[in-house]
């Protein structure tokens, strides 16, 4: 299980990296390598040249702006998991990161790599889908182009990444001061496997304890992670019944796939169950903050 022959370059700037990518259709970006290297080993990926972007300083780090948290694409998943900024400002992401791979893959795997790969069962894309986070690409002229998750994730392992562009950072909104609860649940044969179904939820409460905003997303069951409309929960007290009703309605037409490990109908029921659990967890979390 040895890869095909290829060249390897390690540019220091985004511009250099984009230049190489733009000039060679068969060039591939190498970040943490936790997904790409197995594909190389099985010769499913056969690049002409690998462009290692992990030493481009501009792509690394977690930055707090007035209303966003920006995460550089080559920030390691382990670093993001350890980040207090992410824990405080994007709590749903912090929760989901615990489910990404396991310690030895998080230590190398990057946040951007997980997004660029477009795996429908990956946790970070699901969180981005729930929160409507931004995906920013840079090209060799330094021009930036931003994508919404719904436009970016278009199929299994398929994204609308621009040719010759480089995923440079992810942009999340900071949470507000109102009680903001989050919940993340997934189910797989083994804890660290690709999930059969996953659900991420975030709820914001008003001062009177009713729901100001409820967000829900489902991953792993179809071609891409999907945001699910549970706006009907706004104004409710998020009782178990409210949640169950909203989930049942929202997921009625959810399309799910069959594969070796799980049937489509299992995925559909599991998605609903996880959605309920995630929303309940989010509610309890928010209520706790509200005191």
């Amino acid at each position: 299980m040895k890869p095909v022959q290829f060249d390897y370059v390690r540019p220091r700037t985004v511009e250099d990296a984009c230049g190489i990518l733009a000039g060679d259709m068969d060039a591939r970006v190498l970040a943490g390598g936790q997904t790409l290297v197995p594909m190389l080993a099985m010769r499913l990926s056969r690049p002409s040249v690998l462009v290692d972007i992990t030493r481009i300083e501009a792509l690394r780090g977690i930055t707090l702006t007035d209303d966003t948290v920006e995460i550089g694409a080559v920030t390691r998943q382990a670093a993001a998991l350890a980040s207090e900024v992410i824990r405080d400002e994007v709590p749903l992401l912090a929760k989901a990161l615990r489910h990404v791979g396991h310690p030895p893959t998080r230590s190398r795997g990057t946040v951007g790599g997980s997004v660029a790969h477009g795996d429908p069962s990956a946790e970070i894309p699901l969180v981005m889908t729930v929160l409507g986070a931004g995906i920013v690409f840079t090209d060799d002229d330094g021009e930036e182009e931003a994508f919404e998750p719904a436009d970016f994730f278009i199929g299994p392992m398929l994204t609308s990444a621009p040719m010759g562009g480089l995923l440079s950072r992810l942009v999340f909104s900071r949470r507000g001061s109102a009680p903001t609860g989050t919940g993340f649940r997934e189910i797989a044969s083994r804890r660290s496997d690709y999930a059969f179904a996953s659900a991420g939820a975030q709820v914001v409460l008003k001062a009177d304890g009713t729901c100001a905003e409820a967000l829900l997303g489902i991953g792993s069951v179809g071609d891409t992670p999907v945001a699910v409309d549970v706006a009907g929960l706004s104004g409710t007290r998020l009782t178990d019944r409210d949640i169950r009703g909203a989930v049942a309605e929202a997921l009625e037409d959810l399309e799910t796939v069959d594969d070796l490990h799980a049937t489509a109908r299992y995925r559909k029921r599991a998605a609903a169950r996880l959605a309920e659990l995630a929303l309940t967890e989010a509610r309890d979390d928010a209520l706790e903050q509200a005191g």
Partner: protein, 166 residues
């Protein structure tokens, strides 16, 4: 491609074909065969090494990517005179292995854990080794070994985790 590898504190300048994984560079290039190949696609953890103190899978890093990184393998845990380090000794004490094939990876995963957590509970230990498959032991004696090593590190003044005999 000329690459500078620092392994167990020694720097080697080696010529590496870009497609060669760090695992193969360690084993075939440097003769460090304590690091084992189990799947070569990043699932089993047999190839675990420490990079800058963290457990990583050497089959998922190309040798050329490791340029300039601080790499530790099991060969670097002892001075070669027959003295075991505290984690290795604990594995012997609880028989935390059988065939030994996953053992290097397990011991390094334990080191990575104990470097950041001096008082791991069972759940912490199970999480830390969850990326390392052992087909022999059913894990229990490994969990016991790591708990024992943690306890001995807390109560002794010998070499701790992450500290390596030069």
């Amino acid at each position: 491609m000329k690459t500078e590898l620092t392994v167990n504190g020694r720097t080697h300048v080696v010529e590496i074909e870009p497609r060669t994984t760090l695992l193969d560079v360690l084993r075939d290039g440097l003769g460090l065969t304590a690091t084992h190949a189990g799947c070569e696609h990043g699932v089993c953890g047999a190839c675990t090494v420490l990079v800058d103190g963290e457990a990583v899978r050497s089959c998922l890093i190309l040798g050329v990517q490791a340029d300039g990184l601080d790499i530790r393998t099991v060969e670097g845990l002892t001075s070669g005179d027959g003295t075991l380090d505290i984690v290795q000794d604990a594995f012997c004490e609880t028989h935390g292995l059988q065939c030994g094939y996953c053992t290097s990876g397990m011991i390094l995963a334990a080191h990575a854990l104990l470097r950041v957590n001096a008082t791991p509970d069972e759940e912490d230990i199970r999480e830390a080794i969850s990326g390392n498959i052992c087909r022999c032991t059913g894990y229990q004696q490994i969990v016991e070994a790591i708990a024992l090593a943690a306890e001995r590190m807390r109560t002794s003044n010998v070499l701790g985790a992450g500290e390596v005999v030069k």
